[in-house]
């Protein structure tokens, strides 16, 4: 998928560059095309593409090229000065900021959307509250029966996205390893790895033993969303746009775009549009949480 995307972008880039050189030769065209290079996180790439498409449809004079490759790749490209906007699903690291400054680049952070993961169970399951620690124990295989977390005496069937999904990795780091980078906990081997969100939701909908997770925007109403507490004795919080934005829901993260210094001109216009109601509606459509 990634390769196909890169290929398409390369191809379109070639076509565009041919086209523009052609017009330059022909005459001074009245409207000059402005380019925005946008690269980075694979979590954000679909969102960035959707934004770029809509924005280009409204602004014929703007061309936005979007590529994935990962947050690190995007930030590295920003430091090399090859992109205008770097997408990242994590905050820029201190050492990256240092490298940037040594090259005369001042990365500036913009929160453009939020990503929350809902933990879901079958609507017949009496369990409706879990702590992060309990969820970690379930997925790492320490708790294998619903009675271990106050439910019925039934085996727990654990569902996860495939390992290549950004959601899988984020869930592993934030929930199973509770955010500790030296923790080497893995998903229990009998965790079912399903290739799509739809697969997880369908199994949870039908199977009273199942537990799964998915991006908040994808969760339908006929499955039960679990309220989660950061630690035992803490307050159990259901995910919603409010609880994600006030940071009380624990499995959520900010999604960023980085610019070199205060953005100007066309890039600034694009970023302002991204934070507008229209663009944030696309955020919700793609299963993320709008910033406002």
């Amino acid at each position: 998928m990634k390769r196909v995307l890169t290929f398409l972008l390369l191809a379109s880039f070639l076509i565009i560059s041919c086209g523009s050189s052609f017009t330059n030769n022909a005459s001074d065209s009245p409207t000059s095309t402005a380019y925005i290079e946008n690269k980075g996180s694979d979590t954000i790439v679909n969102l960035a593409l959707a934004w770029a498409e809509r924005y280009q449809a409204q602004h014929a004079d703007v061309r936005i090229s979007v590529t994935g490759g990962g947050s690190g790749t995007g930030i590295a490209a920003l430091l090399n000065g090859t992109v205008d906007l770097a997408n990242a699903s994590r905050q820029i690291k201190a050492e990256e900021v240092e490298t940037a400054r040594s090259q005369g680049i001042e990365p500036l952070e913009h929160i453009i959307a939020r990503d929350a993961i809902a933990v879901i169970v079958n609507s017949e399951n009496p369990v409706s509250e879990l702590t992060l620690h309990q969820i970690a124990d379930i997925y790492s295989g320490k708790i294998t029966n619903w009675s271990g977390v106050g439910g019925e005496d039934k085996p727990i069937v654990k569902l996860s996205r495939e390992t290549n999904s950004g959601t899988h990795v984020y869930f592993l780091e934030t929930v199973l390893r509770l955010g500790k980078s030296d923790d080497k906990t893995l998903f229990s081997m009998d965790t079912l790895l399903l290739p799509s969100s739809e697969g997880i939701i369908s199994e949870v909908r039908h199977n009273p033993n199942a537990i799964g997770y998915d991006g908040l925007g994808y969760v339908p109403h006929d499955v039960k969303t679990i309220a989660i507490a950061k630690e035992a004795g803490g307050e159990y919080v259901l995910p919603s746009i409010e609880t994600v934005n006030d940071k009380s829901y624990p499995i959520a993260r900010d999604l960023y775009m980085y610019t070199n210094g205060e953005p100007t001109g066309i890039v600034k216009e694009y970023l302002d549009w991204i934070l507008s109601a229209e663009a944030q509606e696309i955020v919700a459509e793609l299963g993320f949480v709008p910033v406002k």
């Binding site: 495939e162 080497k184 998903f187 081997m189 009998d190 290739p195």
Partner: protein, 298 residues
């Protein structure tokens, strides 16, 4: 005039020859490509690590054993379903069914063979797996057995089609001879027709098994894809991850030239070798059966 005819003849002969050899060339090219992309694995991952039981590629756990056993157990289950059903159907169509029934059944079976596997997978997720979970009281319906059932369904048309052709090719005189000796219909089928069509029926089984082991989409959707080592027959009723599903699910996102990429091609080599072994066994069995038949007839 004659010269141009010769010239044309020359080109046509060469073209036909080339297309004949092209099959061999393509298989060889594919195999070389697989080797080129897959063999670096052996330099990057230790053999003991490849033979471990943990498959978690994003943290460099490359144990392929669970995937191999997963594929084998799903295929075994599919064969147990497809062989009796497929041969039974073929016998019915060819030997027992009246003519009008045959005219209906054969196209229907062929239609079943044309069903896209993703449609069967969808059916599996929405109907078969929830039903099996309740019926067999399993923790989840996404199991190797669900995969086997659907793969059996995919393999049956192949088995029926080839086996029916083989049965049809048995000379009518064989059956008439058996009837003349007073054999019942069942005795004729079991003792005369089936043995006479043995090599074709075996080919049918092997083609069916080959279809099952290579099938990807359906198993990816219904077997749960949990890389658990299948050690006993009971594993048939728990989730498994097959080699084909692993390649399909992970190839799209893997970095070109990485260890993970090479390991996926290595799995491809293993899969290739397994189908090769199945084919070699099949043709040797068929060969031996043919020799024996010749000895009896001579």
């Amino acid at each position: 005039m004659e010269k141009s005819l010769n010239w044309r003849e020359f080109i046509i002969t060469r073209a036909i020859k080339a297309s004949g050899y092209s099959a061999i060339v393509f298989v060889l090219l594919i195999f070389i490509f697989l080797l080129r992309e897959g063999l670096p694995t052996l330099g990057e991952v230790e053999v003991s690590s490849l033979l471990s039981i943990r498959w978690y590629p994003i943290e460099d756990y490359f144990g392929v054993l669970p995937l191999v056993t997963g594929s084998l157990i799903v295929t075994l289950g599919a064969a147990l379903i497809a062989v009796p059903f497929g041969i039974g159907t073929a016998v019915y169509i060819s030997e027992i069914a009246p003519r009008w029934m045959r005219e209906i059944l054969k196209p229907l079976v062929e239609l079943l063979g044309g069903l896209p596997s993703v449609v069967l997978g969808f059916l599996g997720i929405l109907v078969v797996s929830p039903y099996l979970r309740v019926l067999l009281d399993l923790p989840t319906g996404l199991t190797a057995f669900t995969g086997s059932l659907l793969l059996g369904g995919i393999a049956v048309p192949t088995v029926v089609s080839v086996a029916e052709d083989a049965l049809d090719a048995v000379p009518r005189a064989y059956r008439e001879g058996a009837w003349a000796l007073g054999a019942t219909k069942w005795q004729t089928i079991w003792r005369v027709t089936l043995p006479a069509a043995k090599s074709g029926v075996l080919t049918a089984i092997m083609l069916g098994v080959g279809r099952a082991i290579g099938e990807t989409m359906t198993v990816m959707m219904v077997t749960g894809n949990a890389p658990v080592l299948a050690t006993k027959l009971g594993s048939l009723f728990s989730p498994v991850r097959t080699m084909t599903a692993t390649i399909a699910a992970e190839m799209g996102e893997v970095a070109n030239g990485s260890t993970h990429y090479h390991v996926l091609f290595f799995i491809g080599i293993v899969l290739f070798l397994i189908s090769l072994i199945v084919n070699v066994i099949a043709s040797s069995v068929v060969f031996r059966a043919r020799k024996r038949a010749e000895r009896i007839l001579s």
